[in-house]
């Protein structure tokens, strides 16, 4: 199964439990690469068919697949 790179936004109400949310997502198979604590999000990759389980993790507000960026 292919892995996809994505970003996970932590709910405002769960930002004081940021590391717990990260750990719960790791347990669902996400390889976390960046933790962005000032804004309350983290990014990494996971097998594409496990994204649904990630959405169910408590404290997860939104998940988006990585878009390519380029200079304008």
């Amino acid at each position: 199964m292919a892995r996809i790179t994505l970003t996970v936004l932590v709910k405002e109400t769960h930002r004081n439990r940021f590391s717990v949310v990260v750990e719960d997502c790791r347990r669902q198979g996400m390889a976390v690469e960046r933790e962005m604590t000032a804004l309350g999000l983290f990014s990494g990759n996971i097998e594409a068919d496990r994204v649904t389980e990630l959405r169910a993790v408590e404290g997860v507000a939104a998940i988006e697949a990585d878009r390519p960026m380029r200079p304008c």
Partner: protein
């Protein structure tokens, strides 16, 4: 100035914002023109020699005069404190192509060696502010840390691209950083930077090949917010399709940044091919809480490539800035380069934001955004293309937003 078969023998003169009367007086002084009419008269076609029509709302005038007088206006526009900002022959057809690449003249502002056309168009050269004490983040391909104009500056930097250091081997990041905060007096050539004394935070979020993704950009935003940057300049994006909604994650990130006192400014995108095709504003500039910047040329026309505000709810263009034939810094040994894009327009707005932030310590986050928008200069362009108009620097403490402002 070039006269050709496509010009009409009349000149369009742009006057300093809020100084229209002084500008008209200067115009009469240098040309000998006596009769001035209001634009309400609508006598455009029967304008007599040595007469001018004033467009009060946009602070411009249309004048018919001899070529010698036209040249005198041009000379006056290059005086240090002139109320005449720029002059050009009126065209009989609307220019639709990107002006030719002419760094020797266009980009450096005619024969004026002191500042580029972009710096002058946004009024930064006459501002009392320099961005001192303001932290301005440019998230791009990095910067040439050894560049002659940056080697002496205190710059905070970090790379968010695996395996690459901050040193810019692309050029795009060095160019954008130069526009936002290049030195007030560069080693060579005209002034090209807006907020020359801002504290630069350079985050490398695009590789030297120009590629990157949401993850590295968000990482860079997080760093800049954590460092207390008042402004983040994003000259990057991902094209959006018409009907696409904005990213909920970037929108929430932008809101959290605003709440922390950080304003994010982003390029509207270069996907249009005007006049045939207008593309929607790119991601992430299409987020409601991110300022979307369009590009205009030296003649105040919309750049053919500049994306348009085709959608509501964040998809609008918020403001316009110089983005065609813009001269700025480039990695050595080239040192300077002239390029075009909404990427170039974005750091003009970021630099002006730094000037406003310096002018008023209460101007942070959404207050800073509103201040920039309220002070934009209306242009004879649609809101779809140019938003509220041309970004304008705060000139003096007494006239910021029409109120007395302590610094």
């Amino acid at each position: 100035m070039i006269e050709s078969a496509n010009t009409t023998g009349r000149y369009i003169v742009l006057l300093r914002q809020g100084r229209t009367e002084d500008g008209i007086r200067d115009l009469q002084r240098v040309t000998g023109a006596a009769i001035v009419k209001s634009a309400a008269d609508r006598q455009y076609n029967s304008l007599e020699l040595n007469c001018a029509i004033v467009f009060d709302h946009i602070g411009a005038a249309l004048i018919r005069c001899e070529i010698a007088a036209g040249n005198a206006i041009q000379m006056a526009s290059q005086e240090a404190q002139s109320n005449i900002l720029m002059v050009e022959p009126e065209r009989s057809v609307r220019a639709i192509a990107i002006p030719s690449h002419s760094p020797a003249n266009t980009a450096q502002g005619g024969s004026d060696p002191t500042a580029t056309w972009g710096v002058r168009a946004c009024g930064a050269d006459h501002s009392d502010y320099t961005g001192q004490g303001i932290r301005l983040a440019v998230l791009d391909t990095g910067i040439d840390l050894k560049h002659q104009d940056f080697a002496q500056r205190q710059i905070e930097s970090r790379s968010f691209v695996a395996g690459a250091d901050v040193q810019d081997a692309n050029g795009h990041g060095t160019h954008c950083a130069g526009i936002a905060a290049g030195n007030l007096k560069p080693v060579a050539g005209p002034r090209y930077g807006v907020a020359g004394q801002a504290h630069l935070y350079i985050g490398k979020v695009l590789g030297n090949d120009g590629s990157g993704g949401d993850g590295s950009v968000l990482d860079g935003i997080d760093w800049a917010v954590g460092e207390g940057c008042e402004i983040i300049s994003l000259s990057l994006g991902s094209p959006a399709k018409e009907g696409d909604s904005y990213s909920p994650i970037f929108e929430e990130v932008a809101k959290r940044a605003l709440a922390a006192g950080t304003l994010i400014i982003a390029a509207a995108g270069n996907e249009s091919q005007r006049p045939d095709y207008i593309a929607p504003v790119s991601h992430p500039a299409n987020c409601p809480s991110i300022v979307a910047v369009a590009a205009i040329d030296e003649h105040m026309a919309i750049a053919p490539f500049s994306s348009g505000g085709l959608q509501n709810d964040g998809g609008q263009v918020d403001i316009a800035a110089p983005g065609v034939d813009v001269l700025s810094s480039w990695p050595s040994p080239k040192d300077y380069n002239t390029i075009s894009g909404t990427s170039m327009a974005t750091p003009f707005v970021a630099g002006v934001a730094a000037l406003f932030a310096e002018s008023d310590s209460a101007a942070r986050g959404s207050v800073l955004r509103d201040r920039i928008m309220q002070n934009a200069r209306p242009l004879p362009l649609s809101q779809r293309d140019a938003g509220r108009g041309l970004v304008q620097a705060p000139p003096h403490p007494a006239v910021v937003n029409g109120q007395s402002m302590g610094s």
